[in-house]
């Protein structure tokens, strides 16, 4: 039977973790157990090593301690803490998967100025009129109506660049980054709506759309 005390009241977690001495040490030890167990389950099947897991836990403890005054008390403290630790871990894994491709490398040769389709997508779009119409409108908006920042953020994120890397390179807060992407999506949606394509039409135009190689292996 586990001896860790995970059923503290939320206020006691915060008080103990904010304190020093024996109470804080015990709370940190218990929280370490909670986070480790949570991350093991959350990351199962992702090939995360024990060393990585330990690193994620240590960084999570620091992050949680820094954020203690933002805990709103509307959930169990442990659920909130595990959510933060998952953000820490998946951010690391996203950055690792992306590698060290810079925004400059991504932008080279006009790479982040328009929504170009690859050969396979081009062939797929040619077979579907409504889908092609949505694509053409989105291409026009991205090229003509967005600000430089909105265009770069939208296209880099769409290409898979982690938000955290993008924010660092552009010198933006996560909030400002989100706003740029949100404003870009709002502009896309407005233009589509103005051209008589509502959200249901957009959904149905792309229903069942997926890359041919992935569709054939499903």
């Amino acid at each position: 039977m586990s001896s860790i005390e995970t059923n503290r009241e939320p206020e006691r977690w915060v008080a103990d973790l904010s304190a020093s001495g024996a109470a804080a040490n015990a709370a940190f030890a218990d929280l370490t157990e909670v986070i480790t167990r949570g991350l093991r389950r959350a990351l199962a099947g992702r090939g995360v090593s024990d060393t990585d897991l330990d690193d994620f836990v240590q960084e999570s403890l620091i992050r949680i301690h820094q954020k203690l005054d933002t805990f709103r008390g509307d959930s169990k403290f442990t659920t909130w803490a595990i959510a933060i630790s998952i953000r820490v871990a998946l951010t690391h894994l996203r950055k690792r998967r992306w590698g060290d491709v810079s925004l400059e490398a991504l932008s080279r040769g006009g790479g982040l100025t328009e929504l170009q389709t690859d050969d396979s997508a081009t062939a797929q779009f040619e077979q579907d009129q409504e889908r092609s119409r949505v694509l053409r409108i989105m291409q026009r908006v991205i090229q003509n109506d967005l600000t430089e920042r909105q265009r770069v953020v939208l296209l880099a994120e769409l290409g898979g660049m982690p938000k955290e890397s993008l924010a660092e390179e552009l010198g933006l807060t996560s909030n400002a980054l989100y706003k740029a992407a949100h404003d870009a999506r709002k502009a896309l949606k407005k233009r589509l709506t103005d051209e008589g394509i509502g959200e249901n039409e957009v959904r149905s135009a792309f229903e069942g759309a997926s890359n041919p190689s992935e569709a054939s292996t499903r």
Binding site: G38, L39, T117, M138, G159, S210
Partner: protein
Amino acid sequence: MKYTLDQIRDLAQATAETRPDEIDCDEWLARVAAYIEAQGAGAPLDPDMAAVEQHVRVCPDCRAELEALMRATEEG
């Protein structure tokens, strides 16, 4: 850079799900623990929780984090 059909579909779907007022990823993180517990308890969605659901329809990173949190907190 050239985009695949999947990537363009994801952008189109996120565009369709876009709302004038959305919460960002930091606010989503602040609310998701309460959301997942309310879901587990079968509680009705209030506007704060509905915003959590809307956010994952436009943010693939937070969608992956929600799925991971569900695995981390499920019983058994």
